[in-house]
Each structure stands twice: as C-alpha cells, then as structure tokens.
C-alpha cells in the first residue's frame, strides 16, 4: 500500500468483507489441509460462498464446472489452486472495468448521476464533491431531482458541507430546465457539474424518457455532455442489479458505475457479473457515511478483500 489513506481503505473494505474471507479460509483450510485430492464438498462450499456474495447461481455454476474440469485434468492439486483460480478469474473480469474517471482541466465537464431509488446517489455526489474540491477542481452541484420531497434541500446541505455552489429551482420544476441553467453557469466557470437526478426504477418508461430528454438538452447546449453518465448501484442489491445496469445502459448509455454501501455485510459480488456482461468502467466504491468514504475502484483490492490472503 502506498499511503495511509489506501491502507485505511483497504483495512475497511477487508473488514467489511471479513465474513466471506474467513469463510473461504476456514472452509478451504478445513477441507483441503491433509487431503490430497479436491473433494466434492469443497465445490459445494465454494458455491455457497459465491452465491452468498451475490455472484448469482449461473456464474457460480460456470466457475465450479470450469474448476472441476481442471481438477479432472489434474491441474488442481494444491489447496491454494482453487482460490488462486477464482481470484484470477474475477480479477481478470474486473480489471477490464478498472478505469478511473479522467476529468480534463479548464473545461466544463458534466457528470450525470442516475440510478434506482435509494442507492445513494445524493450521498455519492456529496462525497464526490468533497473529493473533487480537495483536488482543486471547480465544481457545481445541480439539483435535478425536483421530484422527491426535500431532495433539493438534501443536496443543498452537501453543497454547504463541501463549500461548493448549488444550482437549483423549486420542487416540481422541469429537471431539464435546471440542467439548462447549470450548463451555462458551468460553461462560464469551466466547472465540473455533478447532476443529481431523481431515483427511478429502470422499468418506468416515462421516467427513463425524462432522462433521455435531459441528456438531449445537455448535448444540444454543450456538445458531448454529459461526459459521464454514472450509474449508482447498491451493493446490497441482488440479481436485479444486472437488470438495472442493462436497462439504464440500453435507455441512456452508462459510462461509469459507482458501487455503494460496501461497508455493510453485503459483498456486492453482482458487480462481477455486470462487469463480465457489460464491461462498463467501475469508477468508485462507497465504503461508509463519512465525506471521505468514496474510493477509487481497484479490482485486485476488491477481489483480495473478497477472498483474503
């Protein structure tokens, strides 16, 4: 680890995922040590662990079949081989999505934050604001969630905390109009806009159309905007997260993902399936409620924390 903050994060993430790790270690150690061959029970245990981490039954079964095939060919004869293969496989998948957000200097840049209700969009924006501010990036928070009661106030409090300006209108206003205002302000200040949108279930066509409209207006006013459409996913979510990612991507085109709530006991394994199927960059992970609890996604750390060392 290169610096304190990373060690801090790593420890946190590890702690959050401690249950899985100890399970793997205990199970594998107990099952394998002293045994020369890979027993059938181990695969059952591995399946329980993979599914328990929300990787889904299909993924788990594919992985186990692949390992069984290798075991048959005598490629697996040491206790470490299984975890090593799983780790490698997952890291390979995730590494293709390990692509941090690059924000150009002295240019207006629009980040539209979307997702279903309650995944932590506003909180993530608050943390991003804090992070960008620290790096000296000129910022604008944009309250385009004009639907949920007090959403504007909530973002306003984050704006105050991070000491950045907020562009807002009244509740019930057209979110596109808010974004229109913000674009011109951002252009003049060459600022990065963090646009908070209302939470919406991916199955609601009318609400998805509203996002399309916002996007259309942005591109018209500032060609290329939004430069980043960030989907916020809740790590507590199960298999439905795949549907969320697919539908949001199909409707408005997602360019990045933030995975929140990794400080609980949920493992967020579904992100691996999403990475495998869609290859969308995973920008950040949320590991707590503090202002600095938003971290850059690193595949190896994520997998290491999942499986322990």
């Amino acid at each position: 680890m290169t610096n304190n903050s990373d060690t801090h994060f790593f420890a946190r993430l590890k702690k959050g995922l401690a249950k899985t790790r100890s399970n793997v270690i205990r199970n594998l150690d107990e099952m394998i040590s002293g045994e020369k061959f890979i027993s059938k029970d181990i695969f059952e245990d591995i399946e329980a662990i993979l599914i328990g981490a929300d990787l889904g039954p299909a993924f788990a079964s594919d992985m186990i079949e692949a390992m069984k095939a290798r075991a048959k060919r005598n490629e697996l004869n040491s206790p470490d081989a299984l975890t090593k293969i799983m780790k490698e496989h997952m890291t390979t998948i995730l590494r293709t999505c390990e692509s941090p957000l690059k924000i150009p200097k002295d240019e207006p840049y629009a980040i539209m934050v979307v997702g279903v209700n309650g995944t932590g969009k506003t909180t993530t924006i608050g943390k991003m604001a804090f992070r960008f501010k620290k790096n000296g990036i000129p910022l604008l928070l944009v309250a385009a969630d004009t639907f949920r009661a007090a959403a504007i106030e909530q973002l306003g409090i984050w704006a105050e905390r991070a000491d950045v300006p907020l562009i807002k209108q009244k509740m019930g206003a057209d979110p596109s109009a808010v974004v229109f205002d913000a674009l011109h302000a951002a252009e003049a200040r060459k600022a990065v806009m963090l646009i908070d949108t209302a939470g919406r279930l991916h199955t609601k066509t009318g609400l998805m159309d509203e996002l399309k409209k916002i996007k259309r207006i942005m591109d018209r006013e500032l060609p290329g905007a939004p430069h980043e459409t960030l989907l916020v996913l809740d790590a507590t979510t199960g298999q439905n997260a795949v549907m969320q990612a697919q539908m949001f991507h199909q409707e408005i085109g997602i360019t990045g993902i933030a995975l929140t709530k990794l400080d609980g006991t949920a493992k967020g394994g579904i992100i691996i399936r999403i990475a495998q199927e869609m290859g969308i960059p995973i920008r950040y992970i949320g590991v707590g409620e503090g202002l600095d609890d938003l971290r850059r996604f690193k595949s190896e750390e994520f997998v290491e924390a999942l499986f322990g060392e």
Partner: protein, 444 residues
C-alpha cells in the same frame, strides 16, 4: 433465465408424461430448475437449500393427476408450499392496546422508510385513525424536511421536533404531544442504519424501550440480495420486529428476499410498496409473491388492475376475444381508453419479470399524444380493415395516413404496436384468461 418454469419443466419431462407418481429421480431433476429459479430470485442460499429439501420430501410419491403434466404438478407443489411459508399469519397491524399507538419503521439506508411512513400514514388515516408522523432521523440531511413535505402533501400531521437532536427525546416528546392532542397513532420514521453499526442499533433499542411501540416494522427493499438474511436477523434479534414492509415492488425484482425474511424472522410481510405515490401501499398477497419468485410474473395483480379499470362485461368480452385470438383494431380503439385507466401499461409490463426488457412491448404502450393519433388512424380505416389487419397493404396504408393526417410511418407504428399487443395478450392468456380472472393460477 426462466420465462416460464412450468414450460421448462414440461420440456424436461416430455418423456415422462402419463406417469402415475412422482418418483425420487423426477423430483430431483425438477428441483435443480426450481433451485436455480429461487437463487436467481435472490432467495437466500441457506433458505433455498432447506426449502428444496422440504419440498422434495413433499413431492416424492405424490400422484400426478391425469389432467396435468409432472412439471405442472411439481410447480404446483412448490408454489403451494411457498404460499404456505410466506402466508398463513394475519398481517394486520395491531394498534388497539395503546394510546397513542406508536408504529416504528426501521431498516437499512435507502430501503424506503420515509416514503413508507407517508404511505402508511395515509393508509391509516383512510381507516379513520388520527395519525401523526414523527421523524427521528436527525442524521440524513433534510430527512426531517422530507417527511414534513410528504405529510403536508397527504394531509397528515407532522410532529415538530423543534430542532431536538436526540432521537430518543424526539420520540418521547412526540408521544406526549400525541396524547395531549388526540392523535391515536404515531408513525416513527427512524434513520437508516447498518445492522453492524452497534451504536446506532443501540439507539433503536433505546427508542423502543422509551416508547414501547405497538408495531415495529422492518422495511426492506425487494431488490435485496443474499444479505437480506443477516440484516433481518440482526434487526429482529435486537428489536423483535412485528412484521416486514417490502418496498419497490413495482419494479421487476423477483423479490426472493420475501421468503428469506419470513424464514429467518418468522414475521409476516404485512405490506408492499408499489410506487412513489402516497397511495402505493398494498396488502401483501403470498400467492402473488410465490408466482413472482418462481418467475411466473405477477399475473394476478395484472388481472386485478385490469379488472378495476374495466367493468365486468367489457372484461369478459375482452377475455373471450383474446382467447379466440380475435382482438381486432376496433377492440383496440375501444380498449385504448381503458388501457390508459389501467395506470399505464408499462407499469403492468414492469411487474412481469423479463417482459420489461423487451423494447417492442415498451413501444406497445401508448402515451396520451399517441392515443389521439392512434384513434385517428383507426378511424380512417374501413370496417373490413379494422376486423382484419392483414389486408392492410401499402396502398391502404397510404390512404389511411392521408385520411388521418399522419404519415405511413405512423400507420406502420400503430399496426406494429397492435400486433405486439396481440402477441403479449396471447402470452398472458396462456392457460386461460378465464381461470386467471377467477383468481386461479394457470396450472391449477
């Protein structure tokens, strides 16, 4: 993915048709598919394992009735057992023994507590309770303000905590306030918190001890994955919850968490959240949940929605036409208004796992502007064309476009959507719309 579990099993058991009894091997084969369906629906791994063992025992040796296939028989046994496990107990709120009766909502961040609080307030207000909403969430920015706005909107009193920063104090004061002002029900919205945050969990315990709630409801997101079990276990162990509210059920999550939650806490799901509006709170129906978990769609809710929007005669009429596959453009025109009343077809499509993803179906949903256009286009057709869309060739399309002041492309779109609708209706009516209307499931 399982478009239809019964069909899948039928395919597996094609050769077995006519067998008199379910033997161990048949059941074991079928259970592999059932198990996958449950896990895909996010039923907890452990809970799935126990369920499969239990239901396998029940299935082996059961007669396969002449009228149905082994696949249908097994799905029925599984379905019945799911209903049994999730239902049975009364899901009413018990508010009678205290004045005021505090109802406390607890759960993780973002599960929908505040929205649920407002919905519950409206639900109880409509049942002649005098309700006051109380926000004990002093942490999330603007949470108190959010509840105040929602309360104002639904015409429910919102307790003013005057900037008090101690959640326990707020609740105690709110009870006094309720007593003094004749509120018989308090709905306490607490801050979202992680089940492993000891300090905040302890705060919930202190609120519970201080106000002795009549009901403690655990609010859970229907999209929750495997972790639902560990979260619910913690909350229940500490607070002894009385029931569950499952939110965001208007999406397409299969909601396997419902089974897991019931299994680990033993407490019933009392309500489900079906949308963001304050009236989108419904009583839990275990049989619908069972179908949904098995990936068979929430067909009953769909039918019920259709029923409230249509009078019975129209419904019977439509049912007959769909069954006979004779749903004409005339019927489409007649139904367009009704469909609008059904609260937008897309919501309904969204309830059916897998269907929400199909783009063609999305386009089958007319919005208000489209409705006018569509009606004009149908009006410009001859009676013959309305009865048999297949005769509408290029020439006729041009004429219709001119007559309705639209373009050929518009006419094509209407026809395409109409054909999609026919397809969808046919799909939904498989197994008989009539039996669904009676509240039976297709395989019964």
């Amino acid at each position: 993915m399982f478009e239809n579990l019964t069909e899948k099993l039928d395919a597996i058991f094609k050769k077995l048709k006519g067998r008199g009894m379910l033997d161990e091997e048949t059941v074991a084969t079928a259970m592999k598919s059932i198990r996958m369906a449950l896990l895909e629906a996010d039923v907890n791994f452990r809970v799935t394992k126990e369920f499969i063992e239990d239901v396998s025992q029940r299935a082996v040796g059961r007669e396969v009735l002449d009228s149905i296939t082994p696949g249908q028989q097994i799905v029925k046994i599984v379905h019945d057992r799911l209903i049994e496990l999730m239902g049975a107990e009364s899901s009413h709120l018990n508010l009678s023994n205290r004045f005021p009766a505090p109802v406390m909502l607890v759960g993780l961040q973002g599960c929908g507590k505040t929205t649920t609080a407002a919905k519950l307030a409206r639900y109880l207000k409509n049942r002649d309770r005098r309700v006051s909403l109380v926000s004990a969430d002093v942490y999330r920015p603007a949470a108190i303000e959010q509840l105040r706005v929602l309360g104002d909107r639904t015409g429910v009193n919102v307790y003013d905590s005057h900037g008090q920063s101690d959640p326990v104090r707020i609740c105690v004061d709110a009870v006094e306030h309720g007593k003094a002002n004749g509120f018989d029900t308090l709905i306490i919205d607490t801050a979202g918190r992680l089940h492993i945050d000891d300090e905040l969990m302890d705060e919930l315990k202190r609120i519970k001890d201080a106000v002795n709630p009549a009901e403690i409801l655990f609010v859970a997101d229907a999209m929750t994955g495997q972790d639902a079990v560990s979260v619910a276990e913690k909350f229940d162990a500490l607070l002894a919850i009385d029931g569950v509210v499952l939110t965001k059920m208007d999406g397409d999550a299969r909601g396997g968490a419902a089974l897991s939650l019931k299994k680990v806490t033993g407490k019933p799901v009392k309500f489900i959240g079906m949308g963001e509006k304050s009236d989108a709170l419904e009583v839990f129906h275990p049989e619908r949940m069972a179908s949904r978990i098995l990936g068979m769609g929430d067909i009953l809710t769909l039918v019920e929605k259709a029923q409230t929007a249509m009078d019975e005669k129209t419904a019977r009429d439509l049912e007959r036409k769909i069954r006979k596959d004779s749903f004409t453009l005339n019927d489409l025109k007649k139904q367009l208004g009704q469909i609008q009343k059904m609260g937008s077809l897309q919501d309904i499509i969204g309830m059916i796992p897998g269907l929400g993803k199909i783009k063609a179906l999305k386009n089958a949903t007319p919005d208000a502007r489209e409705l006018v256009k569509t009606t004009a286009i149908i009006d410009s057709m001859t009676e013959q064309e309305r009865l048999n869309y297949k005769i509408i060739n290029g020439q006729r399309r041009k004429r219709i476009a001119r007559g309705s002041g639209t373009t050929v492309q518009d006419v094509n779109t209407v026809l395409k959507n109409y054909i999609e609708m026919r397809k969808m209706m046919k799909k939904l009516s498989k197994g008989g719309m009539k039996s669904m209307m009676r509240g039976n499931l297709p395989f019964k």
